[in-house]
């Protein structure tokens, strides 16, 4: 769990110019980090590469917080 969160955090910090300290499981990617829809597409692509998995396009709309991403990855990784 912690490992996944750390890896997700690293990608978010790199791609959204976020401060690592402000990224927690509760952080909302759009509202708190100011990501627009293309940022999210970008982020999903990076996550897919990092975790070597595909995130279904219709699921990306359900992802709001960092915790949503971590949970999704934990549920779907092989």
């Amino acid at each position: 769990m912690a490992d996944v969160l750390d890896r997700v955090k690293k990608i978010i910090v790199e791609h959204l110019d976020a401060n690592e300290a402000e990224v927690t499981m509760q952080t909302n990617i759009k509202d708190d980090l100011g990501a627009d829809s293309l940022d999210i597409v970008d982020l999903i692509m990076e996550l897919e590469d990092e975790f070597d998995m595909e995130i279904a396009e219709d699921k990306t709309e359900e992802i709001a917080t960092v915790g949503d991403i971590v949970n999704y990855i934990n549920q779907h990784k092989s």
Binding site: L38, V41, D42, M45, E46
Partner: protein
Amino acid sequence: MLTDQVALVTGGSRGIGRAIALSLASVGANIVIFYAGNKEAAEQTVQSILEFGVKATSYQVDVSKKEEVDSAIKEIIASWGHIDILVNNAGITRDNLLMRMKEDEWDEVINTNLKGYFLCTKAVARPMLKQRSGRIINIGSVVGITGNTGQANYAAAKAGVIGLTKTTARELASRGITVNCIAPGFIKTEMTDQLDQELHEEWMKQIPLKHFGESTDVAEAVKFVASSSARYITGQTIHVDGGLLMG
């Protein structure tokens, strides 16, 4: 110069696509062409490209089929590492007057000439987004603006390409990707040779420069838009038409 860049030209084995492929190769780009069925023409074009001292290869791809497009583009990324330039050019005609046009004539043209552009654009957008750069160049047509008797399907697809160009340009601009449309007027190719004589003469009267264009005229415009000189141009349709459209 486009040295070490990879350019994918759909419909690149013949006609305008071939001229575009050669033109991009002449300034150092490595070239991948997609062709629909004429393997011999594709191989000849690849040979001509190789003479510029760049790398070249071809894939037989039906651009209206998502799986074929996706798997070819995945292979290109795997073996060449990146795609820097996409030229959507593959197109067909199934001319008929509206009242006689069959549903499959409509569908075939829309599927190749419009959906094919969408599928190729979407497939290259991912690697381009990641590398934060790219050039997408859509080949349109003057008939997308003017309409043309007997080409309801083709004109609708080409008008659609302009909307696709502008939308893609807006969506990808923040990631350093430019998207433009080069819209040929009357260019001497196998495709326009099929048009009847009367139509030919009718169009000629309307061309201020008083002659049809060559494939290389289109290729030169593509080469410019693909180059770093055009870095501040996006979402535009550039007409290469001898003045036909100026109204």
